[in-house]
């Protein structure tokens, strides 16, 4: 089979789930084909049916799924018609799949080596020694070192990134022709993600694999894909080559999706484009174009008739009535124009006034250790290890760093959920770091509030929205019941929800709405400082924008100071005035947002910056990811310190490193 030839074809796949509530129409006629050696990306919001489609190909659908119609043709055979036994032969050896979550897709109690060789030994009856040899080679290929030792370890002894590599190795063990990657990196850090993506690309080249790559991150798509299929509400609504999709999108949904991504250029004074509303409920799929209710350019026909696939070019198709000859032409530029011009401008930050010179929060030598176990099993986690920084009134201070570096812990220590192991925290000049139990500090903590990462976990499922939002007021006992209600309604209004939502329960809301409820809860107590702990990382791109806009708006309205924690640098850059970069419990660099992007000094900051995927295929093709190796620091002789190398630009390092950093600064400027 030659490159470019079609190897897999999904035809009109229609898939439903039986649930108590009724039939969920998860895939409603999916059509696409995959060519030999290419990477096809499938993008779309959460719930649009990406995973279901992939699992249908593997024949691994949940028990309550039915394939109502459609074909999946692989090498002339319709996979749907095959028995489970026959599918077993195809799985792994012909088509392999990588799942989203590397933490749970490896069997926790089986040695890594056995998991890789398992399929070889069982299916191809390869002798043990040979299988092992092959596994070791694969492990090397996916970039694991010390393979001999690693071979006999268990998954928990591996980091997340390494586990995902093992999953890839497992998938490759039987030399499949097609690799389906279902969001293989969403659970990982940017830096790790970058490495994994590189790896997949490399392997694909090497082995001439065909890859179906499922993701909702357009940046990743730009990096990985040859061709892109955009999915919405169980349908592919547009597909084409990566350039066509990114540069000349035709479906308004694709356009909206592309517009919603903040890039490094936009700054927080402009509103982000946000797709309004929420994806349709697939229990009752809408008539006509499913996107119509959220589409600014929806036409009457969109509500009535489903659009067919219109051909744009040989490789580019889109299902939208806008391509109908009689319809008005809306191309990407007009879309941008029409939508972006309407974007509000936020107030410019006023810097350098008296107020903002005064730190509202001072963190001094904060240390937060966690100990678990006792005796020999005692384990001390230095989650935060001696950090100091100030936040000034009215500013947004961004805190970035990889997962587990201590960002959340920092935030929680500030609000008093933990009693610091060492160090002081001053709020408006008063010491508050004595833990929650102290009556005195409670008064101050009321002026600090927090927005949480997980919009599901942070709302009590058993309370109504109004109870959730009103709780802070109730606890403070400063207001009457009626007064509380009034304020709750006002707050709902402010975050874009209405009065009638007040009696609803959180599970009835979409992710974005829930996060807005969380924001309302944090703001209703009139805080001076808000700690936003990754408020958008759990959200879809399109909804991220909604929330960011809201925060942006509220910041001005309420005159807030924000500590904004995130791992997505592009978002932090868009949103923050100053940024602190954390690594392994320590702050390694603090600077103004622009300054940091322009002149990153610490190698970790550089690595982080280079790993951000940008939804621009041209950029992605040239991007080089800088790896960071902490062992380059030699602190055995010189004590590392935080040093201000330029006004407002701090970096962490030993004296000699600082000297080098300063030198490079000069070169930049």
């Amino acid at each position: 089979m030659k490159n470019g030839e079609c190897i897999l074809e999904v035809k009109d796949l229609y898939l439903t789930f039986n649930t108590y509530a009724g039939k969920v129409h998860a895939a409603r006629g999916v059509n696409f084909s995959l060519n030999k050696g290419e990477t096809l990306a499938i993008v779309g919001e959460s719930g649009s049916g990406k995973s279901v489609t992939a699992r249908a190909i593997m024949g691994l659908l949940p028990k309550n799924a039915n394939i109502d119609k459609g074909e999946i043709i692989y090498k002339g055979r319709d996979l749907i018609k095959l028995s489970d036994r026959e599918m077993t032969d195809i799985r792994g050896s012909d088509i392999a799949m990588i799942f989203q979550d590397p933490m749970s897709s490896l069997d926790p109690v089986m040695k890594i080596g056995r998991q890789i060789t398992e399929a070889l030994r069982i299916k191809q009856k390869v002798p043990a020694a040979e299988a092992k040899k092959k596994a070791l080679r694969l492990m090397e290929a996916v970039g694991i070192d010390n393979v001999e030792r690693r071979y006999n370890q268990y998954p928990f002894q591996f980091s997340g990134g390494m586990r995902q590599r093992i999953v890839i190795a497992t998938a490759l063990a039987c030399d499949p022709e097609i690799l389906i990657c279902d969001e293989p990196t969403t659970a990982l850090d940017v830096t790790v993600q970058a490495k994994i993506l590189e790896l997949i690309k490399e392997i694909q080249k090497e082995r001439n694999l065909s890859v179906i790559f499922i993701t909702h991150d357009l940046g990743v798509v730009a990096n990985m894909a040859d061709r892109v299929a955009v999915m919405y509400a169980g349908k592919i609504i547009e597909y084409g080559t990566v350039d066509e999709i990114f540069k000349d999108p035709r479906h308004p949904y694709t356009m909206a999706l592309l517009s919603a991504m903040p890039d490094l250029e936009t700054d927080s004074s402009t509103e982000l484009y946000a797709i309004p509303g929420a994806p349709p409920n697939l229990l009752h799929p809408p008539k006509g174009d499913a996107f119509a209710p959220r589409n600014r350019f929806a036409m009457r026909i969109d509500l009535e008739e489903e659009p067919p696939m219109f051909k744009v070019s040989d490789t580019h198709y889109a299902a939208t009535w806008l391509l109908h000859e009689e319809a008005p032409t809306i191309d990407f530029d007009t879309f941008k124009q029409k939508t972006l011009e309407k974007r509000r401008k936020f107030k410019e930050k006023e810097k350098n006034n008296e107020e903002s010179q005064k730190p509202i929060l001072e963190v001094r030598n904060l240390k937060q250790y966690f100990t678990s176990g006792f005796g020999r099993r005692k384990l001390v986690v230095k989650a935060v290890d001696d950090i100091s920084f100030d936040i000034y009134k009215g500013e947004i201070f961004g805190l970035v760093g990889e997962s587990g570096c201590g960002k959340t812990t920092t935030g929680r220590s500030i609000i008093g959920l933990y009693e610091p192991t060492e160090g002081e925290i001053y709020f408006n000049g008063e010491l508050i770091s004595r833990g929650q139990k102290h009556k005195g500090s409670r008064k101050f903590t009321r002026e600090i509030s927090m927005i949480f990462q997980d919009p599901i976990a942070s709302l009590n499922p058993r309370m109504t929205v109004k109870e959730i939002i009103g709780e802070g007021l109730k606890i403070s006992k400063l207001y009457h019941e009626d007064e509380i209600m009034e304020r709750v309604y006002k707050m709902l209004e402010i975050v874009g929800l209405s009065k009638e939502h007040a009696n609803r329960y959180p599970h009835e809301f979409s992710g974005g709405q829930r996060q807005r409820i969380g924001i309302a809860r944090a703001l209703i107590v009139n805080p001076k400082l808000v700690i936003a702990d990754e408020p958008i990382s759990a959200l879809d791109v399109s909804i991220q924008a909604q929330v960011l806009n809201l925060l942006n708006e509220l910041k001005n309205e309420f005159d807030l100071t924000l500590l904004f924690i995130a791992h997505d640098l592009s978002v932090v850059k868009y949103f923050s005035d100053r940024i602190g970069v954390m690594y392994n419990g320590k702050l390694v660099e603090i600077a103004d947002a622009d300054e940091l992007y322009r002149n990153p000094l610490h190698p970790y900051t550089k690595s982080l910056l280079s790993a951000i995927p940008i939804p621009n295929p041209d950029y992605e093709r040239t991007r080089k990811h800088i790896h960071y190796d902490p062992s380059i620091h030699d602190y055995s002789e010189e004590e590392p310190k935080m040093v201000e190398v330029k006004q407002g630009h701090f970096v962490y390092g030993s004296a000699s490193e600082i000297k080098e950093y300063t030198k490079s600064l000069e070169i930049y400027s």
Binding site: M58, K63, I90, D107, M110, E118, F156, Q157, A171, R377
Partner: protein
Amino acid sequence: MARYIAQRLVLMVITLFVIVSVSFFVLHSMPGSFINDPRMPKEVKKAIEDKYHLNEPLIVQYGYFLKDFVRLDFGISIALQPKVNVNKILATKIPVSMQVNIFSLILSIPVGIILGIWAALKKNKIPDHVISILIIAFISIPSFVFASLLQYFIAFKLGWFPIVVTTEQTLTWSKFVSMVLPILALSFGSIAGIARYTRAELCEALNSEYMLLAKSKGLTQVQATTRHAMRNSFIPLANIIIPMFTGIMGGSLVIEKIFSIPGMGSVMVEAINAKDYPVAMGVLFWYSLVGLLTILIVDLSYGIIDPRIRIGGRK
């Protein structure tokens, strides 16, 4: 590891000591005497009780008890088998119950697990429902009804097995045959328990991501289940299976009575009823010890089954 075990053992000794002490006072505060001959003259009765210090203040009795207890000697029985050392009584009774229990284990663990697997694989299908109903039926019919029926119909009416267990001391074929019914009667409960638990655990494991990966590697359902899901379900299963192993020293009051097995089943109840304090304390001590050891073994077994704990990783 050794240090951890040592720590646990020290804690265990303390707990055990408290259990034994509390039980001592509770037991001795029962009204009545181990002498139940009402015609015996009062002063004779008192004299005999005096011999066993039973008329002294509890705290003094406790002192006497502790003196022997530190040597793990519970003294002699005063009512169940008068003059026989308590530990010796247990040493003759426990093996009898164990014989039956071991076979019951050998039967119930595999059968229970297989039924559980089957039900889990056929979840919400007919085999699952049938097994589930059977399981509940096994659990819900009181064992004394069950054992009586087995004895009456299978042993007495059909004559397939002897009515009571034979008296041979070694395990011969005929002895084994006579033990079949009590083994069955004993097993129904544990089969049901294991099957139920296995089913629940497996249902969870079957839905896990690693099962998906295993299947996407090309393993069949059966291979994936046995190689991955079962292994992972085994950790919680250890919670009920290990106590079964240590529980083989106990006996079932009802079943032993019906099939005339001279085992541990009735010892505790009889000792309490007869106010045989030494026996009651002895049984209590050894059972508590086994119970606490079981907890320890279960905890340690996690380490053996689950490498995350064995190698010291965090959960």
